[in-house]
């Protein structure tokens, strides 16, 4: 009996201590959040409470101008469609180059598959750095050297994609079965052949699924880079925005175009990814 009550008091004391500790952590977190908000508010050009009532002014301006000239909207869609396609192409080419680079890098940094094991550590650091550099940094430096246009943006996004996909792909590779690789090695296949016929078929669906997810992210990145001078829809958006009132209807058309593109790409890619990870496997089962 005494045992149980002893355990009970002991347990209660521990629970209290844990709750107390959690409470302190929570208070600390809230304090940090509030202090952070105050600091950000102080250092901002306009304050939060002053700006809040105006938050909807600009969307209202844009919307009213767009509605007043709604007849022009289809024309604007046609006008800006090439830029939108350029933005998509930047993302598409960057994703492809990034996926190809990431594929090679991932095979080089996976233990058991790497042709030069001593290279694994340094290459992983390189991937870390590629992932850590924001695209805008590379893009701005390249714009200075190569001039404006889509190519700096493509290179910048592709480099970041190599870092991101290289890491994800190597995690996929680690789960691949080594038996086909050993089988191929036993018949004298070269490293390239072992990877191409032994590993890639196992991991391809996961690769494509990750690459599609990256494509969604890259479209957003490519629109942002356009805004700092790398061509595409972002560039047009900045021009119409800096024009100000009078071109807000065109800005609205670009907003809509970008929004629709992002939503459509998200939907299509999530459908395709779902099929790659679930639908395809059941289909294969039926076939075999």
């Amino acid at each position: 009996m005494t045992d149980i009550s002893e355990i009970h008091t002991h347990y209660m004391a521990q629970a209290r201590r844990k709750r107390g500790l959690n409470g302190i952590l929570l208070i600390l977190f809230v304090a940090l959040l509030v202090a952070g908000f105050m600091t950000a508010n102080d250092r901002n050009a306009g304050g939060f409470w002053d700006g809040l009532p105006n938050a909807l002014d600009f969307p209202a301006d844009v919307a009213s101008e767009a509605i007043a000239r709604i007849a022009y909207l289809p024309g604007y869609f046609v006008k800006y469609l090439p830029s939108m396609i350029e933005t998509i192409n930047i993302a598409g080419a960057a994703t492809l180059f990034g996926a190809i680079g990431g594929l090679m890098a991932s095979l080089m940094v996976t233990r058991g598959l790497a042709p030069f094991p001593w290279l694994i550590g340094p290459l992983r650091r390189v991937l870390d750095i590629l992932r850590a550099v924001p695209e805008i940094v590379v893009a701005l430096v390249l714009i200075f050297m190569l001039g404006g246009g889509p190519i700096p943006a493509m290179i910048a996004i592709a480099l970041h994609t190599v870092g991101a996909l290289g890491k994800l792909f190597s995690e996929v590779n680690e789960n691949a079965s080594l038996k086909p690789v050993e089988g191929l090695a036993s018949v004298g296949a070269s490293w390239t052949q072992r990877m191409w016929f032994g590993v890639i078929p196992q991991v391809a669906p996961n690769y494509i699924s990750y690459a599609l997810l990256r494509f969604e992210i890259n479209i957003r990145a490519s629109a942002i880079l356009g805004f700092v001078g790398a061509g595409g829809i972002g560039y047009d958006l900045r021009n119409t925005m800096s024009w100000g009132q009078g071109k807000f209807d065109e800005a609205a058309a670009i907003f809509l175009l970008l929004f629709i593109t992002i939503v459509v790409v998200d939907q299509v890619s999530s459908w395709a990814r779902d099929r790659l990870t679930h639908g395809k496997s059941s289909e294969r089962k039926v076939a075999s």
Binding site: F29, L32, L33, G36, F37, T39, A40, N41, R43, N44, A45, G46, G47, F48, G51, L52, N54, A55, D57, F58, P59, E86, N89, I90, G92, A93, L96, F97, D128, I129, A132, V133, P134, E135, I136, V137, L140, V141, F144, M145, L146, G147, G149, P150, I151, M154, R220, A223, I224, F227, V228, G234, L237, M241, F255, L258, F259, I262, V263, D266
Partner: protein, 438 residues
């Protein structure tokens, strides 16, 4: 037996054929697409647009600096400055040891560029170049009046009536009617710790330490912090602002998205229309994209870290809401039933039945986003004007402070990587710590 083998054979052959075709078709399609995009990006025109000189300045500037020694021909004054900037000008009468200033305004200034390259700045400008000869010029109203050693001009000299530029390995000399200027290149980031007006400039670590111990630590720190060339204080603040944007945006979004996530989860909100509305709100927030949110918000709140935080907050509320509602739909009902069997009220059911189950999932997602948002905050800062992103775009816009650009890039990489390890460490700590029981 043989019949069935041929059956299999005939059925397998087309399958193989199809596989072979797709194996070739996919790479072909990809290559065609890449060709199309590269041509539509005008890759061939890139050769004309490439500015190799820019690339050269950028790279050499990133690891070296130049010192200007300038003689103004109109008033005869000589000045020495780092990168030709006023902030880096040597005080009157002082100069680095390779410059011998004239005793007074009329006396010549000697600049020793090393390896026998010797420049004399005065009414007559002389440049002794080993293996070539001596160049002299007497700039005046009639032009530079240059005389060269006999023979054709080498390609590292460009000369006209009013301007001569000589580029050698040891340094550069440029003479115009109004001024003669010598540029000497050296490795490193000059004035990184202290500017020339600080008494601590040029001191070794040991001397500095002894000064610090004798009660000057505050002054030393202040001189470093307020360094006018490198602005360490401002840079530190910019980094803090960037992290602040990511922190406020990510955790603010998580706090807002949690209750909304319950609204969008099938097992917590039986009302279909409410669920539908919540999900469309998430889709809208995500679909509008950070770029558009940034533009809209910077109109209302002006540039600064708050605008960036709010832009991250809005976008991530959409992402978190979607992820949270999915996590909530996968919650194990048994634990909730167990809690309700003890007579728990709805709030207690959530607190003890649901929250402990989803906390590890949510926390790891939120922390992962925190790390990736540090990077986004740099980008948003460059657009809306705040944090290290703003400093970076400003430094790039000057097109000459590339040493600062590389400094900022290094800082950004270090910042993102340390946020990466911090969030990984926190993830391990919090999630492992939670398994101990609730």
């Amino acid at each position: 037996m043989t019949a069935s083998t041929t059956d299999i054979h005939t059925s397998v052959l087309p399958l193989f054929q199809r596989k072979r075709v797709t194996a070739i078709a996919w790479p072909l399609v990809i290559i065609l697409y890449l060709c199309y995009t590269l041509f539509s990006f005008d890759i061939l025109g890139l050769g004309e647009r490439v500015n190799l000189k820019n690339a050269q300045t950028l790279v050499s500037d990133a690891y070296s600096y130049k010192t200007h020694v300038t003689l103004d021909n109109r008033n005869g004054a000589t000045s020495v400055s780092i990168e030709g900037e006023r902030k880096g000008t040597y005080p009157d009468g002082t100069a680095p040891e390779w410059v011998t200033l004239g005793a007074d305004q009329t006396a010549d200034t000697l600049v020793d560029l090393g390896d026998g390259y010797l420049v004399t700045l005065g009414e007559t400008v002389r440049f002794e170049i080993p293996d070539y000869g001596t160049f002299t010029a007497t700039p005046g109203r009639t032009g530079v009046n240059a005389t060269f050693p006999a023979g054709d001009l080498p390609n590292w000299i460009s000369a006209s009536k009013n301007r001569v530029a000589i580029t050698t390995d040891a340094g550069r000399l440029s003479v115009t009617r109004n001024r003669a200027e010598v540029f000497k290149y050296a490795y490193g980031w000059e004035l990184f710790f202290f500017t020339l007006d600080s008494p601590y400039h040029g001191m070794g670590i040991a001397t500095l330490a002894s000064h610090a111990f004798s009660g000057e630590a505050g002054a030393i720190a202040n001189d470093f912090w307020t360094n006018k060339m490198w602005r360490h204080g401002d840079v530190a603040w910019a980094l803090v602002e960037t992290v602040l944007m990511a922190f406020l945006g990510t955790f603010g979004a998580a706090i807002i998205a949690l209750p909304l996530g319950f609204l969008a989860a099938r097992n917590f909100t039986p009302l279909g229309s409410l669920r539908f509305a919540a999900r469309r709100v998430f889709d809208f927030l995500r679909g509008v994209d950070g770029l558009i949110w940034t533009i809209i918000l910077s109109r209302a709140f002006g540039p600064g870290p708050l605008t960036g935080s709010l832009a991250i907050l809005l976008t991530d509320t959409g992402s978190f809401g979607k992820m949270f509602s999915e996590a909530l739909e996968n919650v194990d009902e048994k634990q909730i039933e167990g809690i309700s069997s003890t007579g728990a009220k709805p709030l207690q059911r959530y607190r003890f039945g649901v929250i402990p189950q989803i906390t590890p999932v949510l926390l790891s997602q939120v922390l992962y986003y925190f790390e990736s948002n540090t990077r986004s905050a740099t980008i948003i800062g460059a657009i809306t004007g705040g944090g290290i992103g703003l400093l970076l775009t400003q430094a790039i816009a000057t097109q000459k402070d590339w040493e600062e650009v590389s400094y900022y890039i290094v800082l950004i990489i270090l910042l993102v990587m340390s946020m990466d390890s911090l969030s990984g460490w926190l993830r391990n700590k919090l999630i492992k710590g939670d398994e101990g029981g609730h």
